[in-house]
């Protein structure tokens, strides 16, 4: 009798005390640009804690890219415009990464590696990370170092096989401010050297006093140093059962590009299982020093008309709906729209040849915590 009475109590206690030891999920992205590229990407991801001191995180993904991409910028019509040459893309990229963390009380060390392979690009990278919880675990500081060793190829030039090597450094702090406020700020710096040219992009310029035009392949500097400062903030409004999520990133590199990214979201808890999160992302950048849609005379040593290096801005609204079950299941769907335009650049003066990009994307995640 006593044993039978004890069983339900033990069962309840076991469930209340059960800690989540891992999570596994699959996320699928569908992305489509108006008239250009389409991407489908399933990602399988998971993490597990072992013996309370080890954590292993891993993910694998396949990128399936089809459609077309602007390859030529020409002023044959009098003004420089993006032109799709008609060649279609059919590319598949496989990626995988693993991260192993070992905790030592308030400290943790981690090591990770990532690989990515596609027809014209191969990447291998690794990183190490140290983390310390301070101030009664109200403050976490992190420092990381990573290296990437990539090889750039071309589907139209089988002889192309150039290296690109990058070293990355990160320092960051996460701080609990109040019972309803948390902020996180990271500084990252990377130094890269190697081939940054896009082997598929060309600039074709006609001059009024010259019969033959000048054709220049995309030619960029053989180095790129980048600096990024990312700050993330969360504030929970208990009376409204909602949370403000805000992020800002400052970016600058030695190509002369300065960019700002601001994203704001509001996650509203509707009931025990459902929440919705509308969000808005704004992005603005100026042009790279060597960006030009028209080849000047004399022809410079470096020049690119790739509009990703132009001056433009972007707006991206999104809506996320999440269902969380009582037993660790989660189903989450996100729908988003992206519009990049010269007129969205902060302060105006976007690049004249920038062709407005319009795209929609959808994400679906199914996951289970256990």
């Amino acid at each position: 009798m006593q044993a039978a009475l004890a069983l339900p109590i033990l069962a309840v206690a076991a469930k209340a005390g059960a800690a989540e030891v891992g999570e596994i999920g699959i996320t699928t992205l569908g992305y489509k640009e108006r008239g250009l590229m389409k991407v489908t990407e399933p990602v399988l991801w998971g993490r597990v804690e072992l013996a309370e001191v080890w954590e292993i995180e891993a993910s694998g993904a396949i990128d399936i890219v089809t459609g077309a991409s602007p390859e030529l910028v020409t002023n044959i019509s009098g003004k420089p415009v993006q032109s799709v040459t008609g060649a279609s893309i059919n590319d598949r990229r496989t990626t995988g990464n693993v991260k192993v963390t070992r905790r030592f009380g308030d400290y943790a060390l981690a090591a990770s590696t990532a690989h990515s392979n596609e027809e014209d690009y191969h990447s291998k990278s690794w990183a190490v990370e140290g983390r310390a919880d301070l101030n009664r675990r109200n403050t976490t500081i992190v420092a990381s170092y990573g290296e990437a060793h990539d090889h750039v190829g071309s589907s139209i030039d089988p002889t192309l096989n150039e290296p690109r090597d990058t070293r990355e450094y990160l320092v960051g702090v996460t701080q609990i401010l109040t019972p309803v406020d948390i902020v996180d700020s990271n500084l990252t710096y990377s130094r890269g050297h190697g081939d940054y040219d896009d082997p598929y992009k060309l600039t074709l310029t006609f001059y009024p006093d010259q019969i033959l035009p000048t054709l220049l392949p995309d030619t960029r500097p053989d180095h790129r140093d980048m600096f990024a400062w990312l700050t993330r903030y969360r504030h929970h409004y208990a009376s409204r059962n909602g949370t403000l999520q805000a992020e800002y990133r400052f970016f600058h590199d030695d190509w002369g590009i300065t960019a700002h990214t601001l994203e704001v979201g509001w996650e509203q808890q509707l009931n025990e299982h459902w929440s919705v999160r509308p969000g808005l992302r704004y992005y603005t950048q100026n042009a790279a020093d060597f960006y030009a849609p028209v080849i000047p005379r004399p022809t410079p040593a470096v020049l690119s008309s790739d509009q990703r290096l132009a001056a433009f801005g972007g707006l991206s609204p999104s809506l996320r709906v999440t269902w969380r079950g009582a037993d660790g299941w989660k189903v989450e769907g996100t729908a988003g729209y992206v519009q990049d335009s010269a007129s969205f650049r902060l302060g105006g003066k976007g690049s004249e040849a920038f062709a407005t990009l319009r795209a929609v994307y959808g994400l679906l995640t199914v996951s289970r915590a256990f």
């Binding site: 996320t27 990602v43 990464n97 690794w126 990437a148 401010l177 960019a259 950048q285």
Partner: protein, 68 residues
């Protein structure tokens, strides 16, 4: 100037009054997480990085791709 501001913010943060473990119920909410799940984070980052010059800030060691 930006680096000085970052350092000042870091020093200022360390002066906050600690929040005790029993006061952290709201901080454990899923919507208070600083990142979405790994799949959502990865795919949305790549969506934007493929069309923009800026990248990075959240982590290191992720490798590259031919998309940018």
């Amino acid at each position: 100037m930006t680096r000085l501001a970052a350092l000042a913010a870091l020093v200022a943060l360390c002066a906050c009054t600690p929040v005790a473990p029993y006061q952290r119920g709201y901080l454990a909410r899923p919507d208070m997480a600083l990142t979405a799940d790994p799949g959502t984070t990865r795919t949305t980052e790549l969506t934007y990085e493929a069309k923009e010059a800026a990248r990075g800030g959240a982590s290191v060691g992720g490798g590259g791709c031919g998309c940018n």
